[in-house]
C-alpha cells in the first residue's frame, strides 16, 4: 500500500474546472474537492452529479424551522389568551384573525434562523483548519480542484486534469 497524495490543480475558469470534475468522475475518483471564488452553478451541479447527491438538505432545516415557528405562534397566542382571559373591545377570548400576523412572522423567523444554522452545520462551519490544497487565489480569481489518490495513481490523474485544461497541477502530501 503506498502513501496518499493530494493533486492540487488550478483552472482559469469554471468550464475547465467542470471538465476536470467530469474527468475524475469518469475515473471513479470521488475523493476530490473543488474550490471556486463564486457559487458557480456549473461546478456545483457537476460535483453533485459526480457524487451522486441531490439538492442540499438545508431545505429540510428550513421547512422544519418554519413549521416549528408556526406551531409555536399558535401555541403562544392561543395559550396566553386562555391563561388569563381578558375582554378587550368585546372580542372573544381567542380571536384568531388578529393572531395570523404573529403566526406568519414566527414562521419566517424560525425558518430563516434554522436554515442558516443548517447551512453552518452542513458546511462544517466554523472551520478551524484549512482544507488540503487550499490556495488563497482560489478565493479571488482561480478555480481549484484537489483530488486525493494513491501515489501510484497520481500520474494518471495529473494527466487527466491537464487534459481537462488545468493551468498547473501540484502534488502535496495528504
Amino acid at each position: 500500500m503506498s502513501a496518499e497524495v493530494a493533486l492540487v490543480s488550478t483552472f482559469a475558469n469554471d468550464e475547465d474546472c467542470v471538465r476536470g470534475i467530469e474527468a475524475l468522475h469518469g475515473a471513479h475518483a470521488h475523493d476530490f474537492r473543488a474550490f471556486t471564488p463564486f457559487p458557480s452553478e456549473k461546478v456545483i451541479e457537476a460535483s453533485q452529479e459526480a457524487r451522486g447527491q441531490g439538492h442540499s438538505p438545508v431545505r429540510w432545516f428550513v421547512l422544519l424551522g418554519a413549521i416549528t415557528g408556526f406551531l409555536t405562534a399558535v401555541a403562544v397566542t392561543i395559550g396566553t389568551s386562555l391563561e388569563w382571559n381578558l375582554n378587550t373591545g368585546g372580542r372573544p377570548v381567542v380571536s384568531i384573525p388578529p393572531y395570523v400576523p404573529i403566526m406568519f412572522e414566527l414562521m419566517i423567523l424560525f425558518g430563516g434562523v434554522s436554515g442558516v444554522i443548517g447551512f453552518f452545520l452542513l458546511s462544517r462551519l466554523p472551520a478551524f483548519e484549512s482544507e488540503t490544497g487550499y490556495r488563497s487565489h482560489f478565493g479571488s480569481d482561480k478555480f481549484g480542484l484537489v483530488v486525493r489518490c494513491q501515489e501510484n495513481e497520481a500520474q494518471k490523474f495529473e494527466t487527466l486534469l491537464r487534459d481537462a485544461g488545468a493551468e498547473e497541477v501540484q502534488r502535496e502530501a495528504a
Binding site: L86, N87, T88, G89, G90, R91, P92, S95, P98
Partner: protein
Amino acid sequence: MSDGLSRRSFLKLAATAGAAAAIPGCEPAARKIIPYVVPDENIIPGVPSYFATTCGECSAGCGIIAKVREGRVIKLEGNPADPISQGAICARGQAALQGVYNPDRLSKPKRRKADGSLEEIGWDEALKLFNDRLAAAAKAGKDRIAYIGAPQGPTLDRLTKLWAGAFGSSRVVFWERIGTEPARAAADACFGRRDLPIYQLDRADVIVSFGADFLETWGSPVEQTRQYADFRTPRMRRGGLSIGKAAYVSPRMGITGAKCDAWVPANPGTEGAVALAVLNVMAGAGSLRHAGTAASAIQAQLAAYDPESVSRKSGVPVSQIKQMADWLGQAESPLALPGGDDPQTYLAAYAINALTGSVGNAMVFLAGAPAETASRPQETSAVVQAIGAGQVDVVVIAAGANPIFTMPASWGAATAIGRAPFVVWFGDAPDDSAQAAQLLIPTHHHLESWRDSAPRAGIYGLGQPVMQPVFPSRVLHDILLESAHLGAGEAAQSITWENAQDAVNAAWQELQSKLGLDPMGAEFWNQMRRNGGSFERAKALNVAFNPDALKGATPARVESESALLLAAFPHPFLYDGRGANKPWLQEIPEPSNQIVWDSWAEIHPETAAQLGLQEHYKSTYLYAGIDVIEIATPSGTLELAVHITPLVKPGVIAAPIGQGHTSYGRYASGRGANLWAFLPAGSRAVPVRARKIERQYKLVTPLGKSDMMGRSIVEVMSVEQLANGIKPPIELEEEENTPKLPYEMYDAWQYTGHKWGMTIDVNACTGCSACVAACYAENNLPFGGKEEVDKGRVMSWIRIERFIPSADEAAAAPNLYIAPVLCQQCDHAPCEPVCPVFASHHTPEGLNAQIYNRCVGTRFCENNCPYKVRRFNWYPAEWPEPLNLQLNPDVTVRGPGVMEKCTFCIQRITNAEIDARTEGRQLVDGEIITACAQACPARAISFGDLNDANSAMVKRRIDNPGRTYTMLPEFNALPAITYLRSLYWEKGKA
C-alpha cells in the same frame, strides 16, 4: 372629632399618608407606622368618616358633608338634608378644599418691618402687640377701632359687634361687594320689608331674568340650577307636553343665556329700563292671564318707559320687549328675576311678579327671615372715609374681606387704609389687603372652625370643624374675645363666653329653647351636628305691593350715547376674586368661553372689526396671540386681552371679575386685571373708551374648535318634535346609516351580575362644571397651570363640551350646545384591543379599565378613542405642600408616562361592593354615586346598573323615549352612557 387624635400625631399621620400618596408609581410606601397614643373612636384608619357642616365659600351657605380620612378632609359633598343644596355642591364649594390646604396660607404671625418687608414673630408677641394697640385705641376715645370683615354668620358677627362695642367702637362692617342691598331696598319700597324674596323657579312656567345670571353666581346657584333643570324638564302643562320658557336680558350670554330660550342682548345697566318697559307693555296690554295688583296704578308710573325710548337706550328691539311682555302676560305662573346692582331692576321685576300674581307663588317672602348679614354700602363707605380721615387708630381686616381689592375706586379704600396708623390682618391666605397691614395673624379656615349660618328663614346651618387645623393658626374670634377680656376691662363683662365655640353653642341652645326643647338636652345638639343644622319649613307671608314704589324708578344710570360700555361680570368660579388662589378654579375652563387662568375682554366680532382687533398666527397655523386693548374708564385705564366672540352684545366689552390680585398666593398673583377697581359704587357697568395697543397676548383654552360640524356630540330636538313624537333629522340620518342586518363579527359579550352605566340629561346640564371640580377632588387629577393647558395637557377626566351653533343651525338649536363628556365605557371600546399589554381592557362589570401600573405609555388607546377622553401624564404631577394632603388615598396617584381616564369612580364601586358582600346583602340602587353625579346641581347625571331594570338610571332612559342618543354612534362603540337630547322651542327666539 375635634378631640381625640392629637395635632402632632395627626400631622405625622397626614405626612405619612401624604408622602405615600404624593409619590408616583413604583415608589415604596412610607416606611414608618405611627399608631395613635389614644385611639379616637370616630376614626378607623382607612375608613372615611363624614361630618356635616356649612359651606363658607359664598353667602348662599349651602349645607355640605365633609369626607374625612385619617383626620384630613379629602372631599366635600352636598348635604342631602339641606333644602337649599339638597345634596349637590358647586365647583366653588368643592374648591374650599384647596383653600384649607392652600400652600400660600400664613403659617406664623408676621410683622411688617420699617423697610416694608415681613418678619415672623411669635404668637405671644403678636397678640401682645395687637392687644396693646387695641387698648391704646380704646383709651384714645370712642370709635377709634374699625373692623372690616366678611359676614361670618349671625353668631360670630354678633360676637364681633360685642367685641368692638367693648372697645367703645361701632365701626364694624361686614363687607360683601356683590351684596343684596338693591334687592332689599326695592323690597322695602315695594312690599315694606327689607327681606330677600325666595324664588321658586320650579313653580314657574315662564322665566324672564333681567340681568340675573341665576345659573352662574346670582343668588344661590346650586338651588336655582336644580330648580331650573326641573323647570326645563318636559312634563304635561296646559294639556300638552312642554317645558318652561325662559329669556335672559343681559349684555352677555354666559351659560345662563345659553340655557334660556332667548338671550336678549341689552346694554349693561339698562336691564332695569327694559324690565320697566316690559312692565309698561304688560300693564297697558290689559290682556293678562292673571291680574294681580291693579295694572292701571302701575302703568301710571311708567310714562317714561315706553318701549320705543327704552329700546333706543338699551339696544333691545321693541319686538323683543313686546315678546317678553307677551310671554310673561300669558304664562300660567310667570317669574321675573332681577339681577345686578341697579335697584330699579328689582323694582320692575317685583312689580311684574306682583302684577301677574306670582308673588306668593313663584316668588315668596318667608316669615322669620334672618337679619341682614352684610352692612349697607353707605355704612361701609362711611367707615372707610373715617379711616381715611384719620379718625381710626386700629383697622382690623378679617375673615376674607378684601376691601382693597373689592371696594370701588371712588371710596379710595387703599389710600385710606394705607393712611391708618395700625392695620391688623386676620385670615388664612394673605391677600391684597394684607399688604397694607402692619400685623398679619393666621386664623382658621372655615372648615377648621365653629360657625353657624342663616341663609334664609327656617334654615340654621351649623358649621363645625371637620379636621384639626393644618397650620398652627388660631380662631379669629377667640383672639378677639381674649383681647376684649384683657383690654376692655369691665366693658367686656357682658361677653360671657370663653371662646367662639361657646358662643355658637349658646346660640344653638337659644334656638333649642325657641323650638321649645329642653335647652340642656344634649340629644338636640348631637342631632344638629349630625344633620349639619336645623332645617324647618318657614311659612310664606302674603305681602301687598305698593304701586307708588315705582315712583322711585330712576332712569338707567349708564347712558348709551357713549360708544362703548364695559360690562363686568363675576367669574363663575372666581366670584368676586376669592376663588383666584385655588388652582382647580383657575384650571377649569370658564364654561361659556372655555378660557383658563386669565381674565379677558369679550368683544363682538363687529365691534372687534371697528377697533381693528384680530387674532395673530405665528406661522400659517401656530396661534401666536390676540390683540390687547387699553380700556379708559373714569377711574383709570386697564389693559385686557381680547376674546372675540358672538356671545356678547355689539358695542359692549364684557370682562370677568376675579383676577388681577397683586398678592394672593402663587396661583392668583399677577393674572389679568381687577375689574372692581374700575367700577363705580353700586354698578357693574361703566362707559369707556378703548383702543388697540401694539401688544399681543396669549389667552389659553383647551377648546379646539367651537363648531360642532353637525356631529352627534350634543344632540338637540325641539319641544314640538318631542310632544308630537317626531324624530329629529339627525336621528333619521343615524337610522339610515346603521346596517339593518346583524353585522357584528363576533357574538356580543355577556355581562352577568352588574354592568355599570350612566344616563346624562343634556337638557338639564348647564355646564356649571361642578362635576369637573368634583372629579378633580375625587380622583387626584393634577393641575398643570396655564403653560401645560396651552400645550394641550389638561388632565380633567370629564369636560364640558361647548359649541356655538353655526348660522344655519341657529334657527333649530339652543343658544349653545353644552354637554359633559367623559369616558363612555364602551362595550366595543376601540381603545382596548390596541393596547399591547392589556392595560386597557373590559372588566366583568362592563367598565373600561385602565390599569395604570401596567401601562407602558404607547398612547395608542387615545389615538383610537373617538371621544378623546383619555388623558396622558405628560408631566410629573405636583401638589405643593400641603395640597397633597387632599389627595384621595383610595385612588392611585399616576406617575408621568401613563395613560389615565374616567373610571366611573371605581374606588366607590369597589368599596360599596365590599361592604355589601361583608354585610351579606345585595347592592341597592343609588348606593353607589359617582363624584360627578353626586355633585351635579342639575341632577343631570344618573349612575346605576344597566342589568337592573328598576334602577333610576335605566328608568330615566325608559321614561324619556325619543330623547335618548349615544354620542358619535357611527363608530359603533356601544357606549354605556346614554344621553338625553337637549330641548329648545322652535319659536323660542324672542
